[in-house]
Symmetry: C2
Subunit: 523 residues, 2 copies
């Protein structure tokens, strides 16, 4: 028609840096988060679901991760000229809630939150602008028992989702120990914040720069290979010696933990608590003369004994001064969960899986809003990393099974096919265990003309069984069950022997359909 | 400090029109959505989770609900000057996905999606700018079996979440019947679209305007009480008679369904299929001479017989030409789930709960992207309305029980209290049914100085039991269990008799803690 000029068609694409999640991906993540939520719930934590949108004012224009200050948020202006933004994490909304409802919430307030967050940053491989976070925090408790509880809960959560004892270790450190060292080195006080910042960043780089590089950064500064000069903290030789002694011990103790952990986890250590005691006594020596340092070691000692009382020994949770991640952000105990099993990286080399969760104690959660310091401690699980670990361990996928597909031989007999599918859907998969749910089944709803297309469809759906009833079978009140996974199993199996007596398809009475499906599904 | 002038503190508030969901609210909604997802999964539907953010180009700047064209989206400009927006429903992202992955997805593609959507509209009481949707759609099937399946699945989903048979009815109509009437009235053809629009809107207003008002709108036009004139469709008397006859029958048949439904649902009807047959034969008479109209009645007849074959009779799903909702949007069968029990409204008057879900068949899902018509049918459950219905029926809340609270009598014995809490958390609530989960428990983590505050905290947490161990009990290896719900139960019960033998607190050996907690919890 003359007046029907079509406009350019829109592109069917996700925005750059966003993606879609299909079928099994959604089910697997949900199963993992449900299992974690079950543990959090058991520990007395309550769910909190805030909206995706916050005022920029409440959110603050900052991100907790100081190493990447350029990360931004997705923001826009409201019709009232207020700026709104998508949350960039789950902690900022918690801070707002803790302030907004401070008179109504129980105190301490244990809450967990799971959901997407958004970052307006450059997308990259495996790096998306929307991703899941899974946090638990206790707000309003200054007790180290709250930190110990976080570590125990994290251990339980990892085991609940399928990471076995021995395949993970939770390492605990304390920011106050470092503060103690700073104090011994004469770096306490509000006026030394800049120097402390340089020291923190320098210590963080020991793996890359080595002791001499760190020493240079603590002193006058350091020229890198390209000739660029980084100004140092300008500390005295004495100050540098105190700090470097700590760095040396920290690394040595961290290494000791790495070395002895396998023996402890495998039960070959005679006295597993000894490692924690050794580490604590050494730390005590390093911070001698500093109140805050001693406090820090005391707290680590208490955490260790509170955890032992609950049965969480150093085979699962260990004091490790080598943990530096987040020390700049946290104010007290910090903890990190590492998976200790090896995976093969993209170049075929074995490597440790590494960190999947971390957290710690932080002040000032609600201070921005109320002016009051409220102590809080919390943990965040890296949802995508943990899910990747479970996939590497083969611990996911069972729930993502395809449906039984009832094929359509005769378009006019759709009512019969729908009757079959209704019978299946209303039947328990395993009558002795209704918690396994009912049989998943569907009727083919495409054009039934080409039967081959129906089997291709069933294959694409990962269907275990196709149900077939043509005119002959219908006349006799029979149905055919075709075992669609048999072929794949034969291919996997070294020998055909165990399959040769198993028929690829069976003919059964309509009345026996449900029983025959259960049998073929191995229930 | 002189240079430490604090800026104005940010307000701790959600943006206007947004809200937070706490504890039980989150758990109840999640339990409902999980139950629905279980049914969808059983029917062979796969989950799809698209991102919250879409390009405005892919989303289209329109909403399906034509009555409220001013509803907007939250949108902003990307750094590349592309416009991005938060999705306003789950259908637009499905359209984009169906086009983007058309070569990879199984066809037909059955998918479900659950999650928040965002509307940049004026908030009001109970009307938020972020809310949940819960959709299931079958893309790529032209078969009415797909529509019938949607209705059966909707019935199963309602029953699964706790709406009993007899408390709901799913009404099915077909847009093609109306199209047939339009054809009989000489309103077929592309050039009559404006007239058909006016007719649709007029018919929709019969409840408010009455037959004479609708007649006026079909003819020259209508002057309302304020004197404003609305131009009519300008139809002839003959055309108007055809349409009004249909409107009359539609309303009469709709009323008949309303009247006979209770008898059918309660099993008092001798021949429940008769109502559907009567309605169908009447519709056949009305559309006589119109192919599309006859098609429409054929489809309704097929849906009815496909559903009967699966056991979904008119006690649950009924043909009802009275359904007009969405007729302007849908192109074939439409369906709507109504709850038939009464609730008391805010003024204390009984009223029917009404609609909680609806859907239908629509063309052009992916046409914007690919130019091709792809048939699709889908259903959307009103998450907040259904949840409100479940609350009205007392069908939610069991899972939101508070934790056992272990109190702290002696700060130095925290390790013992954490040991107790660890014992409880590791114990099955009901050893004979591990699917009930483990005992929910927590230790009090606030300042333990004031014991009264600990009990107040337990009360705020909805805790069923407080565990207490002071120095005396510890010396004897005993613990006290205090029954915190007993008081509330006594208050509820008409007589004290049944409670008088039940002690409000018991003293037990530490080793019997778990057993005693189970007993007090009624397990």
């Amino acid at each position: 028609m003359a007046n029907d000029k079509p406009a350019r068609r829109p592109r069917a694409e996700t925005p750059k840096g966003f993606r879609d999640y299909f079928g099994a991906e959604v089910i697997e993540r949900k199963a993992m988060l449900d299992a974690i939520a079950g543990v959090y719930h058991r520990y007395g934590f309550d769910p909190l679901e805030t909206s995706a949108v916050e005022t920029v004012e409440a959110l603050g224009k900052f991100l907790p991760d100081v190493d990447r200050p350029n990360e931004g948020v997705f923001a826009w202006q409201d019709e009232d000229a207020d700026w709104l933004a998508l949350r960039y994490d789950l902690t900022a909304p918690l801070a707002r809630v803790a302030a907004q409802y401070r008179n109504d919430l129980p105190s301490p307030y244990r809450r967990y939150a799971m959901g997407p967050v958004w970052r307006n940053e450059k997308p990259g491989p495996g790096r998306f602008r929307q991703f899941y976070q899974c946090d638990a925090d206790t707000v309003g408790s200054a007790s180290v028992a709250a930190d110990a509880e976080m570590c125990a809960m994290l251990a339980d959560a990892l085991e609940e989702v399928g990471i076995d004892k021995g395949d993970y270790i939770i390492k605990v450190n304390n920011r106050k120990v470092l503060n103690g060292v700073m104090e011994v080195a004469g770096l306490a006080g509000d006026d030394k914040e800049a120097e402390r910042g340089i020291v923190l960043r320098a210590i963080d780089k020991i793996d890359r720069l080595g002791p001499e590089g760190v020493r240079a950064l603590l002193g006058e500064g350091r020229k890198d290979e390209s000739g660029d000069f980084t100004k140092g903290a300008g500390l005295s030789a004495e100050q540098i010696n105190v700090l470097m002694k700590f760095v040396g011990w920290k690394d040595l103790l961290g290494a000791a933990v790495e070395v002895f952990q396998p023996a402890i986890q495998s039960g070959r250590a005679h006295n597993p608590e000894q490692l924690n005691r050794l580490v604590l006594s050494k730390l005590r020596e390093i911070v001698v003369g500093s109140d805050v340092g001693n406090d820090g070691v005391d707290e680590l000692e208490q955490i260790s004994s509170l955890l032992s009382a609950q049965g969480y020994g150093p085979d699962r949770i260990v004091i490790d001064p080598g943990v530096v991640r987040g020390l700049g952000y946290y104010t007290g105990p910090v903890y990190e969960a590492e998976l200790t099993f090896q995976i093969t990286d993209e170049k075929g080399r074995p490597r440790n899986f590494g960190s999947v969760a971390g957290g710690g104690r932080y002040d000032g959660l609600v201070k921005r809003f109320t002016g009051q310091d409220v102590p809080a401690t919390g943990v965040s699980i890296g949802v995508d990393r943990l899910l990747a670990a479970l996939r590497a361990k083969g611990r996911v996928g069972a729930q993502a099974a395809g449906p039984v597909v009832v094929t359509v031989m005769d378009r006019d007999r759709m009512a019969d096919y729908m009757r079959f599918v209704g019978m299946l859907r209303q039947a328990d998969l395993d009558p002795s265990d209704p918690s396994k749910g009912k049989i998943r089944a569907e009727v083919y709803l495409g054009n039934p003309k080409n039967f081959g297309n129906q089997l291709k469809y069933a294959d694409k759906r990962g269907s275990p069984i196709a149900i077939i009833q043509g005119g002959n079978e219908a006349a006799e009140g029979k149905v055919i069950l075709k075992d669609l996974i048999l072929g794949a199993k034969i291919a996997e199996s070294a020998t055909l022997e165990e399959w040769k007596d198993r028929p690829a398809q069976v003919l059964v009475d309509e009345a026996d359909l449900v029983a025959a499906v259960r049998k073929m599904l191995g229930q």
